[in-house]
Amino acid sequence: MIGNAPFFVVGVLFMMALVGIFMSRNLIKIAIAVTILGSSVNLFLVSLGYRAGGSVPIHFLAGEGEVMVLPTPQAMTLTAIVIALAVTALLLSLIMHVWRHYGTIDVDEVRRLRG
């Protein structure tokens, strides 16, 4: 019924996040765009492993002889989510320090290192 809609949505989210990075001048907005980029990749991984009519990859809940969805992308996504959180925390800490030193979080004004 829905065709390749999840993959399409992943592509659109990817594009929106990339465009969002260039459109926004606020560093925190840029961090939000990076988070959305990570989420779109996670969505891509999980939807890669979906099998139509498949059940949860847990024997206890799925019962005997059921078709299950692929478990590896889910394991990969778990790792990717935690990594994205770690990077987000670090980016935001750096932004806090940028605020402390520069008094602004406008991306065009944070440019002492140039040339």
């Binding site: 990075i21 260039f22 290192l113 140039r114």
Partner: protein, 112 residues
């Protein structure tokens, strides 16, 4: 020690080192041939600075590093203006060039 073959010729480090030793010996010999009668501590070994008073601190004597190759930079002014102007230091520009390159590569390889 030994020769390095590159496929088109070879190169020998030993020969080079021997050449350098010989050259160094020659230079030392030339230096030894110079005048021996300079006296230390007199005005004979003072710095000659176009007849001007020699500055006390080395600060006044040196050419600062940003003035080195001034002519080179001046001759290539348009090139350097553009190249240095590219390094704006804005974070989204840095990312922008990256995305442009990846988009270009993807467009060429997927569409052509």
């Amino acid at each position: 020690m030994g020769k390095v073959f590159t496929g088109f010729g070879y190169w020998d480090v030993g020969a080079w080192i021997i050449f350098f030793i010989v050259a160094a010996a020659y230079v030392l010999w030339l230096r030894y041939q110079g005048r021996q009668d300079y006296k230390k501590g007199t005005e004979q070994d003072e710095i000659y600075w176009s007849g001007n008073e020699t500055p006390e601190d080395g600060e006044g004597l040196t050419v600062p590093a940003s003035s080195a190759y001034w002519g080179f930079r001046k001759a290539l002014e348009p090139f350097y203006d553009r190249l240095v102007g590219m390094h704006t230091g804005v974070a989204s520009d840095i990312l922008g060039y990256y995305v442009v390159v990846v988009a270009f590569m993807a467009a060429i390889i997927l569409l052509v």
